[in-house]
Amino acid sequence: MSTTTSTIAPTTTPTLLRLATAGSVDDGKSTLIGRLLHDTKSVLADQLAAVEDASRRRGWTGELAELALLTDGLRAEREQGITIDVAYRYFATAERSYVLADTPGHVQYTRNTVTGASTADVVVVLVDARNGVVEQTRRHLAVASLLRVPHVVVALNKIDLVEDPLQVHEQVTSQLAEVADALSLPVPPVVPLSALRGDNVVHAAGSTPWYTGPTLLALLESLPAARDLRNDAFRMPVQLVIRPQHGARDAAHIDYRGYAGLITSGAIEVGDRVVVAGSGRATTVAGIDLDRSSVQRAEAGLSVTVRLSEDVDLSRGDLLAAGDVPAPSRSFSAVLCWLSESPLRPGARVLIKHGTSTVQAKVGAVRDRLDISTLEHAPAEQAELNDLVRVDLDLAQALPLESYSVSREGGAFIVIDPQDATTLAAGMVDVPVRS
């Protein structure tokens, strides 16, 4: 059994990068993830021993344990040799900690990739060098474009199995440039690698002397952490009104009133003017509390409690905003990714959760369906599991909606079945209609 040591420097705190992997059947995604975990020393001895044991029982004769087994979580997955559901993996280097959403390639394809992509900073798309760019590759890129994932990276796997790797790399790169262009995506970098041999995943390979670019991990290390939201307009959906009154453990806080939430974009400073989207009432930031300490300024990504200098009508579900404050909308068009086994019925009454508010809504007619490879529109009248459709929606209460193409946070919503409470769809606001 090999022993491992961590590469983490304990004295520094790294940044967090959220990845999602997208791959087709048999393109080696699980092996690539296993390789990333193994070569960053994120697999510990007892995990490796368990996998080596399972590999032997399954007749694997390779030199290393079957790395793919590292990522199979459930009994049914190990029995059937498939991945059923999104699983989350963690690995770290001195620079960064990674949260990796491992999304299955074939079962419930759209549901799983949309889920993984919704929180990802980077999507790693696998391409099998023997097959080149295929239909699935176009889908992965289309989903990344639709969900507005900040970065796409292509792992050109099994490069050791093709006769002319240089030519394959060039061909795939130029094909991807065309696909990306059609989807308005930046051209993704293409890393030629062999997950099985470990070439260009974490360690540079002697087997691809013609390739002068970074390894997959080096590329991930160098990407900006996420789209920087701190220069956008300030937005904070209010989660709670913190008002201890006589429950305060410190008598000094009996009159405390603060509005708790996560800053989804922009920044605020004490003294800034902010507006309650919806009522349009303006007020001034009197204080920003992070626990018992107060700060002058807080930025996107932080959970804070904001005190205001004037009393305003503000509660859970409201949006505190500055800059170009979104106007309330009662009707809008949106793209839905339908996630339920039961089809969408036009006229259905549903619940919509947007930011911190949940409101009743009525689904209008299905306008058209998006081709999941090209994002082109085709006529359609209904939606079934895994379909992407454009619909009109009416709301019982106005919401401060933003177009998803402008703001991922301000334009995302989920659709909930009011009867059985299941999540029916992922939604992206297309065009809000100002009411």
Binding site: L74, S118, Q239, S293, R316, T356, R408, A412, I414
Partner: protein, 321 residues
């Protein structure tokens, strides 16, 4: 030490450092994980009526309660905590639990496995391990108090079944988890709704690793039960684990305990929780040790998780933490 739990607040110096973060740096890892956890806790408090937080005095639950207090400060934590007591707990962990409950001003409910054994609702297992026996008292307590949300300190890096777990995870009216039929979890929009009789389990530390938890304990200066740090203890080596002989771990004929310098990486049931050889006497030393470790937390210290490849999955499906 005058108090068991020092004031866990960040100092004025850390608050100033935060406000002067250069605008080129995004929030660091611990800021991001903390903000995500506060957001999750606040969503549940905003949307559900009767939450409860599982609290054992173990490090993950201590961190979780610290986060709950931060999420709601200066209001008190508005929900009780629940300890499922196997009856085999380390006395210093129970003392710590009671002091922590006092410190945070929360109400403590205890669901006692021993009560269930005494009146025959549960029977002792052949291997003496009581962890799997916790499920029934847990589910009964949830039903009795009509809790609709149960915060747990589980992390996805702990186990391969946990890696599949949602942050807000539905349990049916039997408390069962159906891993093959989970709700998709999109963006940061958690669906906390459920039908009558169902409840949700909520895992604010889902995306934390063991190392992150320790770094956070250091950053926030959070007190823990002393057995997380290296100390001298009489132990006996069994099945590759260092067990502390006593009422719950009977010495076998061929076993001779010896005093070693050890610490605990987890502080569960004494009958199946092992110590590790360690000289890490403070939090910085523990961080260095965890960063360089070659064995997972559960692999090193939990006999019950070695039962089979799917031990955790099977327990979770039945309603375990």
């Amino acid at each position: 030490m005058t108090t068991l739990i020092p004031d866990p607040r960040p100092t004025a110096a850390t608050a100033t450092a935060l406000s002067t973060v250069p605008s080129t740096d995004p929030p660091d890892l611990l800021d991001a994980l903390e903000s995500e956890a506060l957001h999750i806790i606040r969503e549940v408090v905003g949307e559900l009526e009767r939450p409860v937080m599982l609290f054992s005095g173990g490090k993950d639950s201590v961190v979780m309660l610290h986060l709950a207090e931060k999420a709601l400060w200066p209001a008190p934590v508005p929900f009780p905590v629940l300890h499922v007591d196997t009856g085999h707990n380390f006395p210093e962990v129970l003392a710590f639990r009671d002091a922590a409950v006092e410190h945070y001003g929360v109400q403590l409910h205890v669901a006692s496995v021993q009560d269930y054994l005494d009146d025959g609702r549960l029977r002792e297992r052949a291997d003496g391990t009581r962890n799997p026996l916790q499920t029934m008292p847990l589910l009964d307590a949830i039903e009795e108090h009509r809790f609709d949300a149960v915060f747990g300190g589980g992390r996805r890096d702990e186990d391969k079944a946990r890696a599949k777990e949602r942050i807000v995870s539905l349990r049916n009216s039997f408390g069962h988890w159906d891993p093959k039929n989970q709700r998709p979890e999109l963006w940061h929009l958690y669906n906390t709704r459920r039908r009558p009789g169902e409840h949700v389990r909520v895992f604010p530390l889902s995306n934390w690793t063991e190392l992150d938890v320790w770094r956070y304990i250091a950053r926030e200066d959070i007190a823990l039960p002393s057995l997380y740090y290296a100390h001298e203890r009489a132990v006996v080596e069994r099945d590759g684990m260092l067990l502390s002989p006593g009422d719950w771990v009977q010495l076998r004929d061929d076993e001779e305990p010896s005093v070693r310098t050890v610490r605990y990486r987890t502080v569960g049931d004494m009958s199946c929780t092992g110590a590790v050889a360690s000289t890490a006497r403070d939090v910085e030393a523990v961080i260095a040790e965890v960063a360089a470790t070659t064995v997972t937390e559960r692999g090193a210290t939990r006999a019950d998780d070695r039962l089979s490849e799917a031990a955790m999955e099977d327990r979770k499906k039945e309603g375990y933490f």
